[in-house]
Amino acid sequence: MSNDSRRAFLFKSGLSLGGAALGGLVPGLGALSAARAAELLDPLAPKDPHFPAKIKSVIWLHQNGAPSTLDLFDYKPELIKRAGEDVPASFLKGIKTSTQGGVGKLFASKRKWKQYGDSGAWFSDLVPNLATHADTLTFIKSSVTVGATHDISILKLNTGDVNPGRPSLGAWVTYALGSANPALPAYVVLYNGEREPQAGSVNWSSGFLPAVYQGTPFRPGNSPILYLERPETRSVAQQRASLDLLKRLNSISAARYPGDTELRARIQSYELADRMQSAAPEAVDISKETDATKELYGLNDKTSESYGTVLLRARRLVERGVRFIQVVSGWPEGADTERQSWDAHSDLEKNHGLMTKMVDKPIAGLLTDLKSRGLLESTLVVWTSEFGRTSYGQSGNGRDHNPWGYTQWLAGGGLKAGFTYGQTDEIGLQVADQDKAVDTYDVHATVLKLLGLDHLKTTYLNHGRSERPTVVYGKVVDEILA
């Protein structure tokens, strides 16, 4: 039997087996539904949501280091008035502070505030470009979380829990909906800066879900994935033959160990890598974008260039059907900054001046671009962070971590645009009404609902226990939904 006919035989056998499996006729698999059988053959096969989805993709903008939303979106005249005073005891009730050097005096930065749009939402002078989208944004000004170190709170932001081992939101989405583009990963992680986000890959991990659902980090630059390019000394045909052999050998092991999800993921990833060799570089190649588009994203400015490039890539990935794009903010290339994130424990003025200059124009550009291409209706953009920052000062001119009340916002399909849910107290330290507090898993439940998924029914059996994205919590913030 020649190689060709042997391959043809295997191919046809595979098709027959696949057909049988799709029909639910494979012995031992029982009367499986076609969808389930397809999932067994391809864990990334598209799956139906629980109900009609409002959006197709999510761009999850993690502002790493935790910005002071008090200096961006949450205008507090009382804080400005009381600046320099001790924090009144009534505002500290129910919270435990652990600020190094003790709780400082109430601190107001040198901001100018203005209302924008028909919604009259307040924006500071640090975000003039985002302010033009006042009527596009949906604010949650009663965000809360667990206050811990950045790494732990970032883990909670992405996985819903403070302990490692759980899948990230993007992994749950990929597991529940599959891939809409077989040539690209369904879940991509983007970042600007010189290295991967310091909180690490546990934040795009698939946890106890099969490994195939984890996020794929795309590096900045022309070669987004390490070792993806085919060596020059190897032809396409040689590579294909190697991959075919590898797949055959791996499939034998996979049949012997059907519970080995790592192996299943590896088989999948080799094939995906083969397809991605051409698809991924093309997806992130912004050379054919117009100068006007590049300027829209702030690529003409050194401070916003790297973040703008990442967001332009995010838009291109949305166009190509990528379900979940997790963007972690880094810092501007070559910036002279001690803290390479939003973590302004000191010198907030300098830090936030730089960081807002990095993100303001690119994010505003992304919203404008998505809208003009008719993509915003089917996309959800989320501004999120591991926590906010305190209304009292630290180190004289900085702010400490604040998990008790901060602002996050969403924009896109299925939302009440130009709407604000919840508020903080008069000085912006805690949420004003605990019944309106929105925790990380509530945001997750809401994002899932927009994707057509019921967080209570998005489940996975792990060692006999049914697990879900929202652990034992989760309440959809229905008030912000259109």
């Binding site: 129910g94 919270i95 435990k96 605990q434 209570l456 029914k457 489940t459 059996l461 226990r465 049914s466 697990e467 879900r468 929202t470 652990v471 034992v472 919590y473 989760g474 309440k475």
Partner: protein
């Protein structure tokens, strides 16, 4: 003198032991509630009628102990109320399961988890303050 010192040492050790045991019991109770709540969520998700009811009944007993603990402690009316509310919510879950309405039961279980969190917000921190 030596006997007196030994007696004092033994008394202090005994008192310390009781105190530790008392604190440990609270921690264990809270841990058991957390574990049983997770188990309940899982059993409701897979529509395990029997498992759900067993977990819920255990939770009611444990919330009753929590109510008793805070009632005895005093100056914790909201914690007592939350413990009572948790018992009622768990009872609602049992009724929903009996009616095979697992969706309602699952929703009630998230409300129950929120009640736990609300209580922790005030009282878990008090304990931390004691430690520092």
């Amino acid at each position: 003198m030596r006997k007196a010192a030994l007696f004092l040492f033994a008394s202090l050790a005994f008192a310390g032991g009781v105190r530790c045991a008392d604190e440990d019991m609270d921690e264990d109770l809270m841990q058991s509630i957390e574990d049983t709540n997770k188990s309940l969520s899982s059993n409701l998700a897979v529509k395990d009628d029997r498992g759900s009811k067993e977990d819920a009944k255990e939770l009611i007993q444990m919330f009753s102990k929590v109510e008793g603990y805070f009632a005895a402690k005093g100056n914790a009316t909201d914690a007592v109320d939350l413990a009572k509310k948790s018992q009622q919510l768990t009872l609602d879950i049992i009724n929903s399961v009996a009616a095979e309405d697992f969706d309602t039961a699952l929703n009630a279980s998230t409300t129950l988890s929120r009640a736990c969190k609300t209580c922790h917000r005030s009282y878990k921190k008090d304990k931390d303050k004691d430690k520092s």
